[in-house]
């Protein structure tokens, strides 16, 4: 992946972060921390990797995406808006009664949302169903899903993990956003789900560990997954919760708290500054 591409994807990721924060700020509720940690992945998937068309969101041959950690809807909506599924300004209606942007993803209302989610542990199962349908129909599409690390405490995740390996769903790539924090604090102190990589390996998955904020590593992991036959791939991506907003980074308290006007202005200023530096770089 060349530098110009990485630069562009980085800028897009920060725009997604801005959209997500705008959504949460205007709604005065929502989940910024985990939205910021997956923004780089969302940029890479929707602007480089996935075979999708905002003008034809129901194309049966498209790649699918399921946000298993559905509370990070601001990142998904911010991405879909940036990609042209609906106007960017519409993210300001997030969580309001007149908007189709529900607090958690709703496939019936939001163009580009392939599966409703929000109840943790279910998204990965739905992604398994989509991947199995692709196999049965001899389609070439791929299915991507993103789980939270805390979400791996849900038993259903492991039912799905067993299922995906059993049915050799090598068209499925799952990511775990490994930021180490859940609502009540450090994941290893609340209810330790680690070692997540070893567990998925034991369940029969191909596992890749990488940096969630390094496009090259993420891109290589996604491409490796495409070459692995007979096994689903888990990409355990080490991330920073609240990434790129100084006062939100690594703070569990920003899991589900909306920034006030001052905090929002500062966050946007920080992201604009990072993007300006990126624009200025060669």
């Amino acid at each position: 992946m060349d530098k110009a591409k990485i630069k562009q994807l980085s800028i897009t990721a920060n725009n997604i972060r801005k959209n997500a924060l705008t959504a949460v700020h205007y709604a005065a509720s929502g989940h910024p921390g985990g939205s910021l940690s997956i923004a780089d992945l969302m940029s890479l998937l929707y602007f480089e990797v996935m075979n999708i068309d905002p003008k034809n969101p129901k194309n049966p041959d498209r790649d699918r995406f399921v946000l298993s950690k559905g509370h990070c809807a601001p990142a998904l909506y911010g991405t879909l808006a940036e990609r042209g599924y609906f106007p960017v300004d519409y993210v300001k209606t997030f969580r309001s009664a007149s908007s189709f942007l529900q607090g958690h993803p709703d496939m019936k209302g939001v163009p580009g949302v392939d599966m409703s989610s929000g109840s943790l542990g279910q998204g990965i199962s739905a992604a398994c169903g989509m991947a199995l349908a692709g196999k049965l129909d001899n389609k070439n599409y791929r299915v991507y899903t993103v789980l939270g690390d805390g979400e791996c405490e849900e038993g259903q995740v492991w039912e799905a993990a067993m299922f995906a390996a059993h049915y050799k769903l090598d068209n499925l790539t799952a990511f775990v956003d490994f930021n180490g924090l859940q609502i009540d604090g450090d994941i290893t102190k609340v209810m330790n789900p680690t070692p997540i990589d070893k567990k998925f390996e034991a369940f029969g998955w191909n596992v890749i560990v990488c940096d969630a904020h390094n496009f090259e590593e993420l891109y290589n992991a996604i491409n490796e997954a495409k070459t692995v036959k007979g096994k689903p791939t888990m990409v355990l991506m080490k991330s920073v919760k609240g990434k790129n907003v100084s006062f939100m980074e690594n703070q569990a308290s920003w899991h589900g708290t909306a920034p006030n006007a001052e905090q929002y202005a500062q966050a946007i200023a920080e992201l604009d500054k990072i993007n300006a530096e990126l624009e200025g770089s060669c």
């Binding site: 739905a126 398994c128 129909d137």
Partner: protein, 310 residues
């Protein structure tokens, strides 16, 4: 005619109407009991065993349905509606996806396995989910046609089947299943008996008991509990002035509640609700049905109570 369990009829109907390539059948390691193995024998490539993981099964079914599949997901009612309730609610109901839940071993007639496996809550649970259609067929004829109707219906359907072999009450030559429409098995003007599933033949028998006592009872089979046939119930209330309901389900949340909601809001009349009032237990199905009052005699008794309150 020989007795047959509605779960047997379910498996046969899946095999009979399952030729469409888009139909998939999922089961959670109970295919020999739910009888989805009858489908599996004919279409093994479209049968998916998910193992003992009902929650995952429901959401996998939803994922398959987003890709245009018509998916049947089967387990015992206890696990399909009970354990996997939230998956059914969020992944299938909220999304209005084309998933048909084939829940067998409903009710106390499960018998020897006891209370842990006797689901008496499923109708109540499924009724609270918007978009969900609920069908509780009474016999072989009705089950076959109900499965066909479920395939033709675009959206989620919960189908409730029993373990116990039951007699056929409907005439195979003339019976026509209509989703959402009740079936009047006997006309009458003094009282109406409304039954579902395995209680339908008991209701017919109760009608005969009452006739011997000079009471002209109307007998209605409600196979579709949601959406319920409001018109038929309102008419029965107005014309007979008293209603008794009978179901193999807890007395709260099931057919009785559904009928009472219609009656109380449209045409109030005295009612009696027959169902179970406590957890089940192990025993022979016939013994249990008697002990819990799920008999023709009790229906006739309660019908007279309802009449006395007119």
């Amino acid at each position: 005619m020989a007795k047959k369990a509605t779960r047997e009829s379910y498996g046969e109907a899946l095999a009979k109407f399952g030729a469409n390539e888009n139909i998939l059948v999922l089961d959670a390691d109970l295919s020999k009991s739910t009888k989805t193995d009858t489908f599996k024998k004919v279409y093994p490539e479209r049968f998916i065993n998910v193992g003992i993981a009902e929650g995952n099964m429901m959401t996998v079914a939803a994922g398959l349905a987003t890709c245009g599949k018509t998916v049947f997901a089967s387990s015992f009612a206890m696990f399909a509606a009970g354990r996997a309730f939230e998956q059914v609610r969020n992944s299938i109901g909220y999304t209005n996806l084309n998933v048909k839940i084939g829940a067998t071993h409903a009710g106390i007639s499960v018998g020897e396995d006891g209370a842990s496996h006797q689901c008496l809550e499923d109708i109540g649970l499924m009724r609270t989910i918007p978009n969900m259609v609920i069908i509780n067929p009474a016999d072989d004829i009705e089950t076959e046609q109900a499965v066909k109707a479920a395939i033709e219906h675009d959206g989620p359907v919960y189908m409730r089947f029993g373990r116990l072999a039951v007699e056929t009450v409907n005439d195979p030559a003339t019976y026509k299943f209509e989703l959402g429409k009740g079936v009047t098995l006997k006309d009458g003007r003094d009282v109406t008996i409304i039954a579902t599933g395995l209680m339908v033949p008991q209701a017919v028998e109760a009608g005969k008991i009452l006739a011997e006592q000079g009471i002209d009872a109307r007998v209605i089979n409600i196979h579709t509990i949601k959406p319920i046939d409001q018109e038929l119930i309102i008419k029965a209330s107005k014309e007979t002035g008293a209603i008794v309901t009978a179901e193999e389900h807890y007395i709260m949340g099931g057919l009785g509640s559904a009928v009472a909601e219609v009656v109380a809001q449209n045409a109030p009349c005295p009612m009696r609700i027959i169902g179970t009032d406590r957890f089940g237990k192990s025993g022979k199905p016939a013994e249990l049905l008697k002990e819990y009052g799920l008999t023709a005699e009790n229906i006739a008794e309660k019908a007279k109570e309802a009449m006395s309150m007119k």
